[in-house]
Symmetry: C2
């Protein structure tokens, strides 16, 4: 048996999220069906984590085990013509059997894209949230983001539906930037709770608009109450950019 690691990219718009669900078009389901057909054996694909319906990826990582002697570097080419157009295999690599896409992951980077032009551009319509608000205080957003960096209980920044017990996570870095009519919020962390990045982005925008004060961020964290943070930004702006497998120091 051999273990294959794939780096995949997808346009999440027309998928019901990453995780396999009977009767729904999902990334995991599509990969498993396609690989099982090509390799003529039952393939189980494990991802580094789920992404929600409508969320995209540039560098999602997954693995699977196969008994077949297909050269690993062939997978991107074989899959180019068998996967649907909104799901691409960017790279493939044979890995040790103890590698696990989710359990071995040390950190992830997500980027949220907001388009700020009055009229949205067509080819970014699926990949950015169109939110043409001007007079946004970028410096306040950057300062608020600094309060979120570090190890905190992020209960206020995850969906109230989250069932995970331990809501302590580490954020290593948040970058808030503007360039060419886009605003980007890039968050790197040890792991993320349900809707966490989208709530962070929504909250930072409310800081930018002056609806939430920068110096209130610590008390929002402390409250451990979803009601205290800002709104959840929509999925179309969110991209899983990279999954890291080396420890950060």
């Amino acid at each position: 048996m051999r273990k294959m690691k794939l780096i995949i990219a997808y346009d999440g718009t027309d998928f019901s999220g990453f995780q396999r669900q009977t009767g729904l078009r999902t990334i995991q389901g599509t990969l498993e069906e396609t690989l099982s057909r090509i390799l003529d054996e039952d393939i189980v694909v494990e991802g580094s984590g789920r992404t929600d319906a409508g969320v995209h990826a540039l560098g999602q990582v997954c693995h699977f085990v196969t008994s077949k002697p297909v050269p690993v570097e062939r997978f991107p080419y074989i899959l180019r013509h068998t996967l649907p157009r909104d799901l691409i295999v960017v790279a493939s690599e044979e890995v040790a059997m103890d590698f696990h896409a989710r359990k071995s992951a040390c950190w992830k980077t997500y980027r949220y894209q907001v388009e700020t032009l009055p009229v949205p551009r067509l080819h970014m319509r699926r990949f950015a949230y169109h939110y043409p608000v001007h007079e946004l205080n970028l410096n306040a957003m950057i300062k608020a983001a600094e309060y979120l960096v570090g190890t905190h209980d992020f209960t206020s920044f995850c969906s109230a539906k989250t069932e995970v017990e331990n809501k302590i996570r580490t954020i290593y870095d948040i970058k808030v930037t503007e360039e060419d009519n886009f605003r980007y919020v890039e968050v790197t962390g040890s792991g993320f709770l349900y809707n966490m990045v989208r709530i962070i982005v929504g909250t930072l925008h409310e800081v930018g608009k002056g609806k939430i004060k920068v110096e209130n961020i610590p008390s929002i964290l402390y409250a451990c109450d979803r009601q205290t943070a800002g709104s959840t930004f929509p999925p179309e702006g969110l991209h899983l950019v990279e999954v890291g497998y080396e420890e950060r120091n």
Copy 2:
């Protein structure tokens, strides 16, 4: 009654072309349904011309007549939230009653985008044809394009299914360029026959690959036989960029 001119952009991927067809999702049909609902009267939309299934537009022009006193500049905003995400009204203008989106048009520019990277980029997957052929002779393509500029019978460069009698058209300009892993073929002309731009682009690529010689282009034009020209490139690379209403000299 007032006449409104709209400049529209669309992602043609999920449309069955511009022209209204019962039971199919088309650009004309979607605009007519939406405008009729908003304005509460039967609206007929006329475009500058049809685009095929899968072909995109950045600057398609259309017009319609309404009895309602909606300020013309409101249309892009009103339609932003009522049209589907893959159809955008870029600009609106009230025009004289004798303006006609198709009959008044003097020229059109189409751009064809070919992506040349080995692995296609996700967000351009709907908007470019992925054709990673290297060793293409760009100068030969540019020289071949020069033979096509001018007034010619373009029978060899249109689908054999074309029913139009007069196949004489004028091409004002063809630009073949490469930039940032894309190759662009931009064609400006008085009007275009069915599949004409896609066959021009296919033929120029066969010249680039050395399968058709530059100096054979005049005899292909002269043959008036579709079999003599190159293949029809797929629709996803084609964009209607601009429609002009002033005479070219």
